[in-house]
């Protein structure tokens, strides 16, 4: 890379991506010696309908500036301290854009997001926020909003953050932790963490910190805890009893929590999933992942035949106050819902209780961890009846709650409201004395007050199946 080619005397350029050769020119300029990830990003943008792009020069990117200050400023070879940023739009740039008498306007041009281009020929793709393609969008459960300012114009994009490893300060494990941390920052208000924060959080009792040749899962797990996201680790050979890769991963993905997978000595991040051929003998789950060495929103049609098969471990960094693992919450919620259906049989009948044990399985439990404020504010959008919403909205709850739903599988397959009952569990509760804060079965909602250890209830009119609190569709 010629250093002289990185500085411009004007702030930005527009690119007409429909011109033959335009995408190639971007690859030629920025792809460097490792163009694969940039090729994927450009292909994704183009397939999303990108017609034009704006190259923003002299962009001071916090993440790259941090990498520069901690590492690239220490090498003999010189690297610029500024990055470029490439924004994508579904519309062509208006001719007024070139007017020097008008502020540049980019609203209503179908903003698709951006990718930061680092002046590193060996690792050009920096922080990237691109919306999923329309067909993939409903299945990406880990979506966060990012606000962007381009030449004074505010723009917004919803996506899952991505960064590629630079193979010096960061390898796949660092890049994966960065994606998780940046997602939690945008989605849940966690701190903004830079690449150097992640490098510093990794225990350096095995190997040197920089340049890194790789980490172990232990180092990833400890780093995640130090960064404020204590991680659960699940082995997949075999998975925990009565659990499966799908149940474990989808429980968190449904909650909007990304899942790290370790396979073939590599890690990547699952950001969503899609249920294919639901109800058919060949029903299967297609995962969607960010892979820092390959690119964004990549479909994994069959994990058994994946390039990284066999998948060995799941590592799930969680918000600090989610003490209770999902499978434990599901066991607690399921036990209490069964008990409530037994206790209230005289009043509400035994139909649901009988269906719960029917073969083939008609009902299943689905568990989602969600912030209680989000749960409460979402009740009306989920068309929860007013009397039930009134009870839930007045309840005092922990910041994070597990919602264990009893789901009608046929209704779920049809994409209809499918929740017949639910239990709400304090995500900080004691595992040796776990309670449910609330439970609802047809015709009744109950509550447990942890301060007084008393139970209360309210009878309800018959409630139609409700929409799930989970983020996945179908």
């Amino acid at each position: 890379m010629n250093l002289q080619d990185w500085s411009y005397d004007h702030p930005a350029d527009a690119v007409d991506l429909t011109r033959p050769g335009a995408l190639n020119s971007l690859l030629d300029k920025y792809g460097g010696s490792q163009p694969d990830v940039l090729t994927n990003v450009l292909a994704h943008a183009f397939a999303s309908g990108a017609q034009s792009a704006v190259l923003e020069y002299r962009y001071i990117d916090a993440d790259y500036r941090d990498e520069h200050s901690r590492f690239y400023s220490t090498t003999f070879r010189r690297y610029p301290s500024i990055a470029h940023r490439l924004h994508f739009f579904t519309e062509q740039m208006p001719s007024a854009l070139t007017s020097q008498d008008e502020p540049a306007r980019f609203n209503n041009l179908g903003y698709l997001g951006y990718t930061v281009l680092r002046p590193l020929p060996g690792a050009p793709v920096g922080r990237t926020m691109l919306a999923p393609q329309a067909g993939t969008l409903p299945h990406v459960t880990c979506l966060a909003r990012d606000e962007v300012n381009l030449l004074g114009e505010s723009l917004e994009v919803a996506g899952t953050p991505f960064i590629s490893q630079d193979a010096q300060m960061s390898v796949c494990a660092h890049a994966t932790l960065w994606m998780i941390a940046h997602y939690h920052h945008l989605a849940f208000g966690g701190p903004r963490l830079l690449p150097g924060d992640i490098t510093e959080a990794v225990p350096d009792d095995i190997g040197r910190g920089m340049p890194s040749i790789g980490l172990t899962l232990y180092q990833i797990s400890v780093a995640a805890s130090r960064l404020g996201y204590p991680a659960l680790v699940y082995g997949l050979d075999p998975p925990p009893p009565e659990e499966s890769l799908f149940r474990l991963a989808c429980r968190y993905l449904n909650s909007g929590i990304p899942v790290i997978v370790g396979g073939d000595e590599h890690v990547f991040v699952l950001v969503g999933y899609e249920r294919l051929n639901a109800g058919q003998p060949d029903e299967r789950i297609r995962f969607i992942r960010h892979d820092d060495e390959v690119g964004i929103y990549i479909h994994v049609d069959n994990y058994l035949l994946d390039d990284y098969a066999p998948w060995d471990y799941l590592v799930i960094p969680l918000p600090q106050k989610v003490y209770m693992p999902g499978e434990d919450a599901e066991a607690v919620g399921a036990a209490h819902l069964r008990q409530a259906l037994d206790d209230e049989a005289a009043r509400i009948g035994t139909e649901l209780r009988d269906r719960l044990d029917a073969k083939p399985r008609e009902l299943s439990f689905r568990s989602t961890v969600v912030r209680s404020n989000e749960f409460k504010t979402g009740l009306e959008a989920r068309q929860v009846p007013a009397a039930l919403a009134a009870v839930y909205r007045r309840m005092q709850m922990s910041r994070w709650i597990w919602v264990v739903e009893l789901v009608d599988r046929d209704l779920r397959r049809l994409g209809k409201p499918c929740v017949l009952a639910e239990a709400i569990i304090d995500a900080t509760d004691h595992l040796k004395d776990a309670h449910v804060l609330s439970w609802r079965v047809p015709g009744l909602v109950g509550q447990w007050n942890p301060d007084t250890d008393t139970l209360s209830h309210r009878t309800l009119d018959p409630t139609p199946p409700l929409r799930s609190v989970g983020r996945a569709t179908g």
């Binding site: 390898v171 172990t216 699940y234 370790g262 590599h266 037994d342």
Partner: protein
């Protein structure tokens, strides 16, 4: 501020009720039976054990 006692707050508030009615101790429903509590305890121990094994076995798993 000194408390005068002339303005009891109770006279100025309107209660926002929880919407649920306490259940008498004798009619408590929704609590796990002993048998179900034992089953749940066993299940939770099983899950915790699987996580401990995964934590331990994954310790040296290298990724790059």
């Amino acid at each position: 501020m000194e408390h005068s006692g002339k303005y009891p707050l109770d006279e100025y508030v309107t209660s926002i009720a929880s919407g649920v009615t306490p259940q008498p101790e004798s009619e408590r429903s929704g609590e796990l039976s002993d048998e179900r509590a034992a089953e749940l305890g066993e299940r939770l121990r099983e899950l915790q054990s699987a996580r401990q094994i995964a934590e331990s076995e994954s310790r040296d798993y290298p990724v790059s």
